[in-house]
């Protein structure tokens, strides 16, 4: 999907179509957990091109939120990071001071619970215009005009009134839309969205996703969309990354994800979900529970204890990533199981 170059885009060191906007390369993160340093992310590598929407799907312990935080330099104290994260060709880990602030203007993040990320005693207008005023030196009246315009883009028409309101006066759905508008004010190139619709009603979610879709097209915005909902990611993102126990287990074009998954976990996750179109006698539940990176048995495939296709080779070592049909899979049997994992095929 090629993106058109919008007017006014600054020329960057790399060419638009080939080099990725964001490159995560061998990202490994250790965090202090109850006294010891434990793995939470292991060898995570992927790229996002300009204008592309990449879904990041996983359950508890998968490391999906931690990945977004690593990208935005929001890891908790005591975190040890290995590997590299490059945005527009520059290493994010080495940014400091003004460079870091500029980076934050080009990579915006929205969270699951907007209320936890906004100051309840400041007005919406203050919060929205802060980055513009402080980091980019935009005069207040101009910043407010832009804020009102952006609020209209997210479907909030009485922007001037909203700017003067406080966060508690807005419902969850409204506040999330305000957060999206605020995130877009600095004209970022990449939006990190950490479960932005999980806490919303499904109709509100549909609306927020529609807004994000329109805005992405208008601003040529790339997006990393984190969710536990495989169907949602597959529906709104170009490609989907599936994570398990702190590792990437599959990268797949969304259109092919359900019909032709490359990893048993993806297939099992899709099959575990009840079907809205028909009742089945029993769901195909995965035995056991999802693990964090440090809980997974070392030296073998993390999913081996729960996998319906496990063989001895799976326990011989941590499987490498295999490239297959334009996608990737961390399964030793990926080629062999190709075509046999889809939801349409019987398990």
């Amino acid at each position: 999907m090629s993106a058109s170059i919008p007017a006014g885009a600054t020329a960057t060191a790399q060419s638009r179509t080939d080099a990725p906007l964001l490159e995560v390369d061998g990202l490994t993160v250790h965090l202090p957990v109850e006294g010891a340093q434990r793995d939470v992310l292991r060898d995570v590598s992927f790229g996002i091109r300009a204008g592309e929407a990449l879904g990041l799907v996983g359950e508890s312990g998968s490391g999906k939120s931690m990945t977004a935080r690593a990208i935005d330099r929001l890891l908790p104290d005591g975190a040890e990071v290995e590997g590299a994260i490059r945005f527009e060709g520059r290493d994010v880990g080495t940014l400091a001071g003004a460079d870091l602030r500029a980076f934050r203007g080009r990579v915006a993040m929205i969270f699951q619970d907007p209320r936890a990320h906004v100051n309840p005693v400041r007005r919406i207008g203050d919060f929205m215009t802060e980055a513009l005023r402080t980091n980019l030196g935009v005069p207040t009246s101009t910043a407010e005009r832009r804020a009102v315009h952006m609020l209209a883009q997210v479907g909030i028409d009485d922007g001037e009134r909203r700017l003067r309101q406080y966060p508690h006066e807005l419902s969850g759905g409204l506040l999330q839309r305000v957060m999206i508008a605020a995130a877009l004010l600095t004209e970022p190139r990449l939006l990190l969205a950490d479960e932005p619709t999980t806490a919303l009603d499904v109709t509100t979610q549909a609306e927020v996703m529609a807004i994000l879709h329109d805005l992405r097209r208008e601003f040529d915005l790339a997006m990393l969309f984190i969710t536990h909902d495989l169907e949602l990611a597959a529906a709104v993102c170009d490609r989907t990354v599936v994570m398990y126990a702190g590792q990437i287990v599959e990268v797949r074009s969304s259109a092919l994800l359900h019909g032709d998954p490359l990893h048993p976990y993806t297939a099992a996750l899709a099959a575990a979900r009840p079907d809205i179109g028909q009742t089945s006698r029993r769901l195909r539940a995965i035995p056991g529970r999802p693990l964090s990176a440090f809980e997974a048995p070392p030296g073998e495939c993390a999913f081996a204890p729960r996998c319906p296709h496990v063989v001895d080779e799976c326990r011989a070592g941590v499987p490498d990533i295999v490239e297959l049909d334009g996608g990737r899979s961390r399964c030793v049997r990926a080629r062999e199981l190709r075509g046999r994992l889809g939801v349409s095929s019987d398990g």
Binding site: G173, A206, A235
Partner: protein, 271 residues
């Protein structure tokens, strides 16, 4: 098909919080061994309906009859409350606050058994074992404190606790919403098994249409306190009649889905 009396019958239920009408003229009935889903989003009033049925909220108007006993007014005495507890039970949404952090699973279940049945210690211990087996907990988990259990395990305990009272009706208030997908599937299978084994009736409160399809035979859809549609779950989901139901159905992500900006405003979208 209504030869036997329904285990739960709700009629003209209404709840006002000051000026706000949270529940407006809601009626439905649940047959023995049946399952009804109440579908809605925030502000629909579905949770308030559940709370009124179990006595945590008092109806402003309307009647609730469970197992032939009227419970529209609050319970008068402890024995009355206890009897009602043996008729209708509830499993809440949040696995992390639904168990007393200082009580082991054994102690939690034992306390409920002591409350409802005057059994000697041995019989209670036997029943605790039966209940934990029924919900799929092993011996270690039974002796554990809540902090030694995962979210899915805690929900199993909450289900066991509700079943310890041997209710005819089990209300599941978004009971799987906070669980990982793979764990959710396990618990949904468990609930289906329990229905087969004990013939308890379910009232499933949920916003998740796929879960509703899996577990409930009948569905009512609530919007802003009112019932806007009712019928067999398959019919409501495959051929929705009401605009809101259609919008709800259209909002569920699936391959090829193109999200639309909404037509019917949500109850909470003002300010």
């Amino acid at each position: 098909m209504a030869e036997a009396a329904p285990v739960l019958e709700v009629s003209g239920l209404r709840k006002e919080f000051g000026e706000l009408v949270a529940v407006d003229d809601v009626s439905f009935r649940v047959p023995a061994a049946g399952s009804l889903a109440i579908v809605g989003e925030s502000g629909s009033g579905k949770t308030t309906v559940a709370k009124m049925i179990v006595g945590l909220e008092r109806p402003t108007a309307g009647t609730i009859v469970a197992c032939g006993n009227d419970r529209s007014k609050p319970a008068r005495s402890t024995s009355d409350r206890r009897r009602r507890g043996g008729e209708v039970q509830i499993v809440f949404q949040d696995p992390y606050s639904s168990l007393d952090p200082r009580q082991t699973v054994e102690a939690t279940l034992d306390e409920i058994l002591r409350m409802h049945h005057g059994w000697p210690k041995d019989r209670r211990r036997q029943r605790v074992l039966e209940l934990t087996e029924l919900v799929g907990l092993d011996a270690r988990q039974t002796r554990a404190l809540p902090r030694g259990l995962s979210g899915g395990q805690r929900q199993r305990v909450a289900i066991a606790r509700a079943l310890a009272a041997e209710p005819r009706v089990l209300i599941l208030d978004e009971s799987v919403a906070a669980l990982d997908v793979s764990i959710q599937a396990q618990v949904l299978n468990l609930l289906a098994d329990i229905r087969d084994e004990t013939s308890v009736s379910f009232v499933l409160i949920s916003h998740d249409l796929a879960v509703v399809r899996q577990l409930a035979e009948e569905t009512i859809v609530m919007w802003r306190g009112r019932v806007v549609e009712r019928g067999a779950t398959s019919r409501v989901l495959d051929e929705p009649q009401d605009d809101y139901t259609k919008q709800l159905r259209a909002s569920v992500p699936r391959p090829g889905w193109k999200p639309q900006r909404r037509l019917v405003a949500a109850a909470d979208e003002e300010g």
